[in-house]
Symmetry: C2
Subunit: 213 residues, 2 copies
DNA sequence: TCTGTACGCTTACGGTGTAAGTGCAACGGT
DNA sequence: ACCGTTGCACTTACACCGTAAGCGTACAGA
């Protein structure tokens, strides 16, 4: 007689996990809490996912799906620029994702597709295999490194001035003149680091290498 | 009558924590295990450190001490190159460190010194405050991003071929031609990504920006 | 000699992921 | 119409985590 509820499935578990992690942080993503979120006891989740690592792998791969890599035929530089900016947006929208991608081993379907498209645009653009590897790796280093710094470092991002105010009093200007100078500047200007600065620097460098030497 | 042992102190606790994390990974660094390592019960550690976070902050800051940033008077480009390579070596020697730096909030004495020296060489080299911020941030994005990829991504580093062999069978060459191509190349050539490729690309770009526009 | 403090110890609590076992409801084959 | 299988939920229990709280003892300074 009771209303038969829609049965759970892997997809719904992963979606709920993403929502929960986005809203309350990755620490809040526990099996019991996630179960509660989808209206089920913790252990019931194991009917749909292998274990917690499977969930983490799953949500990372699902999120990668959102990254936009332009299709074959797009100019490589334009494609890489678009891809990097899109990836950066996605990683900022899911602040737990960058760290998970870097700290875990798996390559799922989403990751493979994303990678294949990336390498494809580079190869079509005239890069050798080695060149494409270097380009990909350099672009991604900047992507992940920048995003992680942006999300975690005290004096980056919006809260810069708030945190800086906390930190400044403890810093002697004689001992650390340059740190004090920079923090002062950040506080006054409200400046936020610019992802595209490093991105364009790298893209131009890659282009020069491709045409030159 | 029993031999009076050297009393523990914060320094020895942190050193032991670093050794343990280096040898068995950060997961093995639990309070009980660390206590065991220094010959003491877990709770006794709390006489020397505030809590586990204090330990993590402490070992990160201690490790940063090992990074070599050339003194004032050194050419900025040479100094940044040296600093980046040194930092990369240190982060590879302590594979848990990069992730911890990126995922935690504190800036201790070691971090501040390291940062001040970095900004100092850039400012002395002619960078504006904003320019120095951009340069620092871009160099560090590459440093951390590259290192994390190197330490964690399946097809990077030495184990590339081993892991690739595991992964390849599941990849259809029609669906993911470029991934298959690249993995094949990595397996044949045993190629390992090169930190200095991206580093020099960035340094040259920074130099061009400094002299040009 | 007395006493305060530093530093070790033990016990206990609430949290984690998950192994193992139970029970119910729907479905397919006879 | 029955009945075995299967899918999916539930409950219980375990080992391990960080750490709060409290106890005991040995040394240093008065």
């Amino acid at each position: 007689m009771a209303v038969r509820r829609e049965p759970l499935n892997r997809e719904r578990v992963l979606r709920a996990a993403i929502t929960l992690a986005d809203k309350e942080g990755l620490d809040a993503l526990t099996m019991r809490r996630l179960g509660q979120e989808v209206g089920v006891e913790a252990m019931s989740l194991y009917n749909h996912v292998k274990n917690k690592d499977d969930i983490l792998d799953g949500i990372v791969d699902l999120v990668l799906t959102d990254i936009d890599v332009p299709p074959a035929g797009t100019d490589w530089k334009k494609a890489m620029r678009r891809r990097s900016i899109s990836a950066h947006e996605v990683l900022v929208a899911h602040p737990w994702a960058a760290m998970q991608i870097m700290s875990r081993y798996s390559i799922g379907l989403g990751m493979t597709r994303y990678l294949d498209a990336t390498l494809g645009r580079l190869r079509e653009g005239g890069f050798t295999i080695e060149g494409a590897l270097d380009a990909w790796h350099t672009l991604d280093s900047h992507l992940y490194g920048f995003t992680l710094q942006q999300l975690n470092l005290p004096f980056a991002a919006d809260e810069a001035s708030r945190v800086s105010a906390d930190v400044l009093p403890g810093l002697s200007a004689e001992e650390f003149p340059h740190v004090v100078e920079v923090i002062g500047h950040v506080m006054r200007s409200g400046r936020v680091e610019d992802f595209e600065y490093g991105l364009d620097l790298i893209l131009d460098g890659l282009e020069a290498g491709l045409n030159g030497s």
